[in-house]
Symmetry: C2
Subunit: 227 residues, 2 copies
Amino acid sequence: MPLHTDRTFEEQLGHLRASILEMGGLVEDQIAQAIRALIGRDEALARATIERDHTVNRLDVEIDDLCIKILALRQPAARDLRLITTALKVTTDLERIGDLAAHIAERALEIMAEPDLKPYIDIPRMADQARDMVHRALDAFVREDAELALAVCAADDAIDQLHAQLFRELLSFMAEEPRTIRQAMPLLFVSKALERIADHATNIAEMVIFLVRGRSIRHLDTLPRTL
Amino acid sequence: MPLHTDRTFEEQLGHLRASILEMGGLVEDQIAQAIRALIGRDEALARATIERDHTVNRLDVEIDDLCIKILALRQPAARDLRLITTALKVTTDLERIGDLAAHIAERALEIMAEPDLKPYIDIPRMADQARDMVHRALDAFVREDAELALAVCAADDAIDQLHAQLFRELLSFMAEEPRTIRQAMPLLFVSKALERIADHATNIAEMVIFLVRGRSIRHLDTLPRTL
C-alpha cells in the first residue's frame, strides 16, 4: 500500500489545488475583461481577451497531466482518488468557461460595429454574478466545502431569470424594430454565454457536493434544502 | 504492483467500453427523436425525449463510479490509466449532448405552437452529421483509433458552415418579417444545439487522439494533416 500521509503527496495535492485556483483566476479575469471590452467598446481589449484563451488552454493540459501523474505515482485511494477525478472534470468546465469568455469578446467586436442599442444594465450584473459563482465554486472545491457549493447551485436560478428577462426584452426590440436585429442578436448570445458560464460553475459545485458527501445531486429536479 | 494482464481487469475495461457505447447509443437516439419530434410536430415524442434524459444521466453517474472503482481496485498504469481518465471526461461530454437533445425537444415544443416557417432541409442534415460524429467519436474511443478520431475533428467544419448559413438565413427572415421571430428564434437555437453537439463529439475525438498518440491537438488552431 502506498503511503498517503507523507508530505510530498500533500504537497502535490496542494500544487493541484493552487493550479486549479490559478486557472480559475484566469477565466474570472477573462470574463471581466470581455465585459469591459463590450461596455467600453474597446477593440484592443476584446482581442486581448480572445488571445488570452491560449494561457487558459495551456493550464488545462498541464493540470490534466498533473492529475494523471499523481494517479500513476501515488495510486491514491478513497477521498483523495475522488479529489483527483473531480479535478479532471473541473478543468474541463474551466476550459469551456474560458471558451465562453472568448466567445463574449468576439460578440463584443460585432456589437462595436453597430451603434449602442440600450445602456447596459443587466449584462454587467449577470457577469458579476457568474464570476462570483465560478469563484465560489472553486473555493468550495479547494476547501471541500459542501455548504458553499450548495449556495453556488442555489445562485443559478437568479442568472437564469435575468437571462430569460433580457431575452424577452431583446425579442420585443427586434419585433418592433427589425433594424435592431444586428445589435440585439450578438447581445442575446452574450447573455446566453453568461448563463452557460453560471451552468458550468453549478456543475463544478455539484461535483464538490458529490466529492464531500458522496451524494450526487447532479440530476435531481429540485435542490435539497440541506445536505 | 498489481497485475494488469489478468482477465478480470480486461473484463472491467470491456464493461467500461460497453457502458460508454450504451450511453452513446442513448444520446444518438435522443438526438434523432428530438429532430423527428420537431419535423413531425409530435408533442408526445418531444416530451418522451426530454424524459429520456434521466436514463442518460443515470448512466453518467454509473460510469463515473465504475471508473473510480477500477482506479481504486486496479491502480492501472500508463495507457490503461489514461483510458480511464479519458472515459471520465467522455461521460461529461455525452451527458451534455443528452442535455442538448432535451433542449432541442423543448424548442420543438415551442415551434409546434406556431405555424411552420419553412420546410426543414438543413436541420435534418445537420442532425444526421452531428449524430454520425458522436457515433464515430465513440467508435474511435473504444477502438483507440486515432485516424478515425482525426476524421471526426475534420467533419466539424461542415456543421459549423451549415449553422452559419442557416443563421444568416433566419436573420434575414426575421429582418424582413418581424412576425416570424417567434418561430425563427427557437429554430436558431436548434441549429446552435446541433453545432454544440458536434463540438462535444470533436472534444471526444481530440481526447482519443491524445490517448492514442500522447499528443494534444486540442488547442491547435489548425488540424494536422497526419498524426
